[in-house]
């Protein structure tokens, strides 16, 4: 998705001679109708405004099923980079606008053709396609194509027309609000605009999977906050920086992202005393569920999200899921359950979290926990072990929640980088 396609637009200094003045943004799932559609459009427009905040000069205009972003090309490139991360956008095109007038349309088409030929080496054939939705425009498509194509061909510097497999397709849309000429279609992330589907709480570990799980839920319009469990002093503080870095990447897909850090240390120590080794993993996860549910309620989140898949590790069996979910009083969404690991990694790369996720810091789970946890724990057995342990579960959960630290991270559009810049707050530049 996205990133590369806009980056290609940054080639060199050609922006100066670039013909583009508009970003034509397409959105909307076809299935959306009526009230849902109105909500969708209203929220999407707000998301787009927010994403483009601070970019000047930009004008946004909405028409039926379309948004237009008007700006000089240098600004459009940055705008496109940001819109590639706005859920609800299906695709966009860099377009040249023109009056609904044949001469103006021809000139615009020629400008686009020339710019694209300069930009893409090896273009030898092209075709023109046209769409007319402005009934006042005097020509119909079958007459338009030869009128535009016939104008371009002798001025194309030796290109040939190929209507079946052209190297370059110039599309002309003549609409009541004006004509738009473009040559490519860059995919957006799709999905629904954030905020149209409530809020959920993600259990964010710092590994590869959970950020991806959060992203999939966000893409369905759900606002997501995260809880990260750590166990100081047994875990390294760097692990926290890593989670913050992941949070910042997820923030670039929304505009802010909140992470709650909760310490599991006391619970881990208590489990070591009173729970048989083979069941510690599943019972620890039950505690995570209980804590997450409490946090979710406080934050008005309606569901939990985990990066669980099936069969990846010992705790990811259907039996284990049942035993864990038993302690969660909210729906647990597991968007990765249908994906293979390679698909998850591929998605993580596209989201931008992969490089950060693979940084080597052990998280909570590797401490105190058995090397050979029970892979198919029976629910009855797990519940019995909890009861027999004499642990004061609700007190442990309360005290864990008492350790919560909340950090809200903002998207940094300047550099969509995964490097945390917390160092800058610590006066490091005074040495460098």
């Amino acid at each position: 998705m996205g990133e590369e396609s806009t980056r290609e637009r940054l080639w060199g200094d050609e922006a100066e001679s670039s013909p583009y003045d508009t970003l034509l943004v397409r959105y909307g799932e076809l299935a959306l109708k009526g009230k849902n559609r109105q909500d969708f459009e209203r929220v999407l427009l707000a998301r787009v405004r927010r994403a483009l905040e601070g970019l000047a000069p930009v004008r946004i205009r909405r028409t039926f099923g379309r948004l237009y972003v008007y700006a000089p090309e240098a600004v459009l490139v940055e705008a496109a980079r940001r819109l590639e991360r706005v859920f609800g956008i299906f695709s966009f095109s860099f377009a040249r606008s023109a009056e609904n007038d044949l001469e103006a349309i021809r000139a615009a088409a020629l400008a686009v053709l020339r710019a694209e030929v300069a930009r893409r080496p090896g273009v030898r054939t092209f075709k023109v396609s046209a769409r007319r939705t402005d009934p006042r425009f005097p020509m119909r498509v079958p007459d338009l194509l030869p009128a535009i194509g016939g104008y371009l061909l002798p001025r194309s510097g030796g290109l040939r027309v190929d209507v079946n497999h052209p190297d370059l397709e110039i599309t002309v849309e003549i609409r009541p609000e004006g004509t738009f000429v473009y040559a490519d279609r860059i995919p957006g992330p799709g999905g629904l605009p954030l905020g149209t589907n409530g809020k959920a709480l993600l259990l964010l570990s710092g590994g590869i999977d959970s950020p991806v799980a959060g992203w999939y839920v966000m893409r369905r319009g759900v606002r997501v906050e995260a809880v990260h469990f750590h166990s100081p002093p047994y875990t390294k503080p760097e692990a926290k920086d890593k989670v913050l870095a992941l949070g910042r990447i997820l923030a670039s897909w929304s505009d802010e992202f909140t992470v709650h850090f909760v310490s599991l240390t006391e619970i881990l120590l208590a489990l070591r005393e009173s729970i048989p080794e083979a069941l510690r993993t599943v019972i620890l996860r039950r505690f995570m569920m209980r804590i997450a549910v409490r946090l979710a309620r406080e934050r008005r989140a309606l569901a939990l999200v985990t990066g669980e898949s099936l069969g990846q590790v010992a705790s990811q069996t259907l039996e284990a899921m049942a035993a864990i979910e038993d302690a969660a009083e909210l729906p647990v969404l597991r968007p990765l359950v249908g994906l293979d690991k390679t698909e998850i990694i591929e998605r993580a790369r596209k989201i931008g979290t992969y490089e950060t996720s693979v940084l080597p810091y052990e998280d909570t789970c590797t401490l105190f926990l058995p090397r050979h946890p029970k892979t198919r724990p029976r629910l009855a057995e797990v519940r019995a072990a909890e009861e027999r342990s004499g642990l004061d579960i609700s007190a442990l959960v309360d005290r864990a929640l008492g350790t919560a630290e909340t950090v809200t991270l903002r998207a940094e559009f300047g550099a969509l980088s995964s490097t945390p810049n917390v160092e800058d707050d610590k006066g490091l530049s005074s040495y460098l």
Partner: protein, 378 residues
């Protein structure tokens, strides 16, 4: 005092001394310690690495702090040799490299590697096509300095790098120690695999240097099997303050480069004309010379004698590579096939950032006095 020996070493910039002192005092903890102070030291080390990477336009993981350029060069040859592909034991370099390149190469020759030394022409100019022509199917490494330390000759590393694009499995090392002060370092554009820098040639501390190793190549190491932690090549407690000071020196060098180059070009031209008028032969190439190094020879005089005579008048110049000054003859000038008389009469003027072009007159008048001293004695 007129210090004209910047190619030997540069005076430290006060900002760099300040960075070093403060970082040493305030972030003295071992960056490997897991406590707060250790973490703060590690943080600074990481930030220094990132800043250096940004200045060079590369990734932080490609940057390694070393105990100087000599160590960095040694690591390149050691590493490249131990990871050389089966059956490829040929290295191409130039006859005018710094001893810190030539000495490890001589060791490799004793271990059965073959080394071709490409010579520049009489003007000191090295041709890219001569370097590329020396490549054989067995070549696995090409090592060419960017700016020669004795003559200031700029070597065509971009052209060599472009030629090497056709030979992706030949690695390219560039010793850029004398270039950093005056030239941007086109690491990606010149397809460089290894690059060496020195801190004290850019007003930083001694015993600091940098080795760039392109991602995908084995990480450098001196001995043992460990990967250098935090990007510090030398085993032992990492010198965080030195890394910070190096990063600052490099940043200031970048910031001041354009203005410096302009000033030094002016100064260097005035001196060249003035010294030629006093009978000196310019040994630095006319074209493609880094203007902060000017090598001239007074025929019939011995360079080191002139150095001492100038010193008596408060002008401090160099003779070839300072660390080799006691060796009988400059290998650089010899490789240029210059007459012995010119070689032994050679002195090197090299300029640091603090000299104004107007200093030329004062320098020339002190030259006159020194020359008079010598002539009255002979």
């Amino acid at each position: 005092m007129l210090y004209l020996d910047a190619a030997a070493t540069t005076p430290p910039w006060p900002e760099v001394v300040e960075a070093y002192a403060r970082a040493w005092q305030e972030r003295f903890a071992h960056p490997g310690s897991p406590h707060e102070l250790g973490l703060r030291a590690a943080e600074l080390l990481k930030a220094a690495r990132r800043q250096v990477a940004e200045l060079l336009g590369v990734e932080p993981e490609e940057v390694f702090f070393t105990n100087g350029a000599t160590e960095a060069n040694a690591a390149v040859f050691l590493g490249a040799a131990s990871s050389a592909p089966e059956g490829r034991r040929h290295i191409v370099t130039t006859a005018v490299e710094h001893p810190s390149v030539l000495e490890p190469l001589a060791r490799l020759e004793r271990r059965g590697f073959r080394v071709t030394y490409v010579a520049p022409d009489r003007s000191g100019t090295l041709r890219a096509r001569d370097v590329l022509a020396a490549l054989t199917p067995e070549t696995f490494l090409v090592s060419v300095m960017y700016v020669n330390h004795e003559t200031g000759s700029i070597h065509p590393i971009e052209e060599i790098g472009a030629g090497l694009r056709e030979r992706p499995n030949v690695r390219f090392h560039v010793d850029a120690v004398q270039a950093a002060a005056v030239l941007p370092l086109p690491i990606r554009a010149a397809r460089i695999d290894y690059l060496t820098l020195s801190g004290h040639k850019i007003h930083g501390p001694r015993r600091t240097g940098l080795l760039f190793v392109r991602k995908g190549l084995p990480p450098p190491r001196l001995y043992g099997d460990g990967v250098p932690e935090g990007g510090v090549l030398h085993p032992g407690t990492p010198d965080v303050a030195a890394a910070a000071a190096f990063a600052r020196a490099l940043r200031l060098t970048e910031e001041r480069r354009t203005a410096f180059v302009e000033r030094v070009r002016d100064l260097s031209e005035r001196l060249r004309e003035g010294l030629e008028a006093r009978g000196a032969v310019v040994l630095s190439p006319r074209l493609s010379r880094a203007s902060h190094i000017l090598n001239v020879s007074f025929p019939g005089m011995r360079g080191e004698v002139l150095v001492r005579a100038l010193s008596a008048h408060g002008v401090y110049v160099g003779t070839r590579s300072a660390c080799r000054s006691r060796a009988p003859r400059s290998h650089v000038l010899t490789a240029m096939r210059l007459p012995a008389e010119l070689v032994s009469g050679s002195i090197r003027l090299s300029f640091a950032e603090d000299l104004e072009p107007e200093a030329a007159e004062e320098i020339l008048s002190r030259f006159d006095r020194a020359l008079r001293d010598l002539r009255s004695r002979s």
